[in-house]
Symmetry: C2
């Protein structure tokens, strides 16, 4: 097994990077936002940030580590809703409700930044650019989900996995990490569940992509050897389904 790379990155001013459009806010506004909404919290592997049904109070941003959102239906079947990496916001789906509508657990030791929703609404009423940014963030999430609709409705197993990996690659790159060499924080089961595939299919596709010289997979360590080919297979419009 390779030496594990450092895949957890912290953002200095969490709210600044995550919920604000830095350019559009004055330094004073940024300070105000930071003072009101920034609250750190460590989360051990397999521990929940929040659980389905719990009272909704806050949005969360990932500072380091990785978070999995999922819900369980009446038959007890789990559905993985998404994975969140450093710099990403989650809990947005609960705003319309008094309670969280899914559960969020840490896939590895993580740190999250809590943004009390009451503060978010209060501040965004005062700071026009913050409101605009919140609307955009929510809208982008809707758009992302719609692109995912196409993935599930039209793409083959190979296309789904390729799209997924390409998307992870982009998100790591955005966080100034290697876009071609990273560790998958989630299990094969979680990947399959998320992409609407059986675990075995995920395993087989990984093997096939490796045989074709596109990937090098060693457990959870992943290297993309031919990003171009990977994108070709994914051929997902605009090459991204998560902001």
């Amino acid at each position: 097994m390779n030496k594990p790379q450092n895949h957890t990155v912290t953002c200095h001013a969490c709210s600044l990077n995550v919920i604000c459009v830095p350019q559009s806010l004055t330094p004073e506004e940024i300070d105000l936002v930071d003072s009101k909404v920034q609250r750190g919290r460590a989360v051990q592997r397999n521990k929940h940030v929040f659980e389905d049904g719990q009272q909704f109070t806050s949005l969360y941003a990932v500072r380091s580590g990785a978070i999995k959102a999922y819900s369980v239906d009446q038959n007890g079947e789990e559905q993985v809703i998404g994975f969140y990496l450093p710099g990403e916001l989650f809990g947005l789906d609960a705003i319309h409700n008094d309670a969280y509508v899914c559960s969020a657990k840490a896939l590895e030791t993580s740190a999250v930044c809590e943004l009390p929703y009451a503060q978010v609404t209060e501040l965004s009423a005062k700071i026009h650019n913050l409101q605009a940014h919140m609307y955009k963030t929510l809208s982008k999430e809707i758009n992302t989900d719609q692109q995912f609709h196409r993935l599930l409705s039209k793409k083959t197993a190979e296309e789904r996995i390729s799209t997924f990996l390409q998307n992870l690659s982009e998100r790591y790159q955005r966080r100034k990490l290697s876009p071609t060499s990273f560790r998958l924080p989630m299990s094969r089961t979680d990947i399959g569940n998320y992409l609407g595939l059986a675990v075995e299919t995920v395993s087989r596709v990984f093997t096939r992509l490796q045989q074709n010289g596109i990937l090098k997979v060693d457990g959870k360590e992943l290297q993309i050897l031919d990003l171009g080919k990977l994108c070709d297979i994914a051929h997902s419009e605009g090459c991204e389904f998560r902001s």
Copy 2:
């Protein structure tokens, strides 16, 4: 073919019903909102309300008729994103962008209400309850898309169709129309595309559900004979995937 029922319903004060929480706004605020955002527009069958790539200016609410949202990928393949019925808001996915990210066309002669986005942001900055409502509306849409994720990722063809019909039923009921007897405004092809199924499969499932005495299908006229059984098959959590 049966005598077509009147399936188009107008809402008196469009913005009031659609984008506001009536109870939480004062009459003066409602008047203000209505005066700023309400603009009607008729749309003939197969005509677009907006098209992918066009400059984003407004959100829209359906007053009467039915609207289909879809996008086309680089291979020219269409993906149906959603169907919108009277009282429902669409165009939310474009807020994060300067241009619309999908196209919206009328499935039948329709009337839509235009809500210039600049007015929406301006008003929601002033009226706190309007901002809260916008956040909730966007959040609910995210939640709906996530429930759809489960449909595409886990459900069989029969479950998908049943869930779809049950959902339509609920939406017609909300608009004070019969929940068990209505006209499908979209083609079988559109239904299949939306649900990730081949047209032939849609046709076959309709036939099967009819043979089991659950439905009566006559072209686009639909009667749900056994809503209980339909819901059992759908067994989708909370029995709804669109608000």
